[in-house]
């Protein structure tokens, strides 16, 4: 059986279990409401969920722009200049290990409990991996390629546009995948902690009144958001990874689209 078929079967089996286990009383509805009751609960409060999704998407969108834009820009600078690299990289790397969520209460003091504090927190949260992998991507460019470009008379800006950027794209994308996912996590978690709007807030509020179907309806929406983001990054990766076979990125690309790649000769 093909791996992709098997994967779909597993997903279908999980969905079936989600419906069956609570329905036959094997799991109490409080712990896991059946899929159908979750969907009904979500449908009944559709307007509320729609508004919450709007708020969350807005926050995710802005944070994503800051995290990815800033991460790529700063990563490129840090990756290409040796002095900032020596100064900044050790700090950023160790900062990455700190659970930044401990700073979130401080952000609410500075920026209030509205969208601003979520955006600030999620942007910083997603910024670090994007920056780190952009810097790594620029640093690991094969110096032979730059030398070859120079020998053909490429100017500084031509080398940047025609060599450095295309060579760094795969690594930058893998940073975006992690950074973007963390942005979603950052927004939802901060909404759950201290907030008055958004999906995270809804989940948190329904949980306090033990309304499990509504909690899970919110969880489903977050899940859908993460899957959509992942699909988008994969699309980009597939476009960029055509030349990447042999590397890890190439293997991932081959898994996604075996037909899109020609056999190596």
């Amino acid at each position: 059986m093909k791996a992709s078929t098997l994967r779909w079967l597993i997903v279908i089996a999980l969905i079936a279990l989600w419906e069956a286990l609570p329905r036959f009383g094997l799991i109490p509805e409080l712990f896991l409401p059946a899929l159908s009751s979750t969907l009904v609960a979500g449908w009944n409060e559709a307007a509320e969920y729609r508004d919450a999704l709007g708020v969350t998407l807005y926050e995710v969108g802005i944070s994503m722009a800051f995290a990815c834009g800033g991460g790529i820009l700063l990563g490129a600078i840090v990756g290409s200049l040796p002095r900032p690299r020596l100064l900044i990289m050790p700090m950023v790397s160790s900062l990455y290990a700190v659970p930044l969520v401990i700073l979130y209460p401080v952000f609410t003091v500075w920026l209030g409990i509205g969208s601003e504090s979520k955006i600030a927190f999620a942007a910083i949260y997603g910024f670090l991996p994007t920056m780190l992998s952009t810097a790594a991507g620029i640093q690991t460019i094969d110096p032979q390629l730059l030398l070859a470009a120079r020998s053909m008379g490429a100017t500084m800006s031509q080398r940047l546009v025609r060599v450095i950027i295309p060579a760094a794209i795969p690594t930058v994308l893998s940073g975006l995948r992690v950074g973007g996912a963390l942005v979603i996590v950052g927004v939802v978690v901060s909404e759950m902690l201290i907030s008055s709007a958004g999906i995270g807030y809804l989940i948190s509020r329904y949980r306090t009144i033990l309304d499990s179907p509504h909690v899970f309806a919110g969880v489903l929406l977050v899940l859908a958001m993460a899957i959509a983001f992942n699909a988008f990054i994969r699309l980009l990766e597939r476009k960029a990874a055509i030349w990447q076979t042999g590397t890890r990125g190439g293997q991932i690309a081959e898994e996604i689209a075996p037909g899109a790649l020609q056999p190596a000769t």
Binding site: Q144, R150, S151, M152, G153, I242, W243
Partner: protein, 268 residues
Amino acid sequence: MQPLANITPLKPAARAGAIQINGVGQVFRTSGAEVVALADVSMDIKPGRFVVLVGPSGCGKSTLLMMLAGLRQPTSGSILINGAPIAEPDPNRVGVVFQEASLFPWLTAEENVEFPLALRGVVKAERRGKAEEMLKLVGLEGFGKRHPHELSGGMKQRVSIARGLVQDPPVLLMDEPFAALDEQTRMTMGDELLRIWAATGKTVVFVTHSLTEAVYLADEVAVMSARPGRIVDHLQVQLARPRTYEMLSGDAFGTLRERIWRHIRKSA
């Protein structure tokens, strides 16, 4: 009568492909210490010659090639190509073929060959035509749409040669271009290179570690000593062309090979 100062002497016609290396030296400064990589290298290469540089590792033969390419400036002395100094990379005078892995992996074979032209803003149709012509010259007709990872090691180096020749420079520099290839491919590529060289009439300066490859390909071999690099022998290879596999086991071939080896063993 005109004052003498106003008469500009006629320049000797700078013949395309002539290389003059005049007392070139190269000193590296690494963390305070000075390392003399090359000391007083002089060589006169006539247009259309196939010259091979051999020497022990670290003798500065690649450094010399980088200076010929304009990628590095000599600390002392001067280099003239076509009668003019080479202050920066000039793809109209000099094409360079590096070791493996210098093709841009995100571009197809023909886009790689077009790259130098794209840098100069040559229009697409003209670029494509030129790239096709070059790929045909190196025996890769019909492979233009492939990416480097879809090509074998030998094919990749054919693309590199096509890229080096696409602006029709009179000089082609090659820095151990076949070092990463297996022996059979290497032999085939040697013959292919000689065929391309005969068809284009370029001046070729070729760096290698392989003595057999040196004698097999060259009109003349410059043997360099270990650091500081200098030319210790400059020998003419009088073997007939086209070169054949049988020559490898001949006496003339063996004598030349041995003479080079004696120099290298002495300085290693």
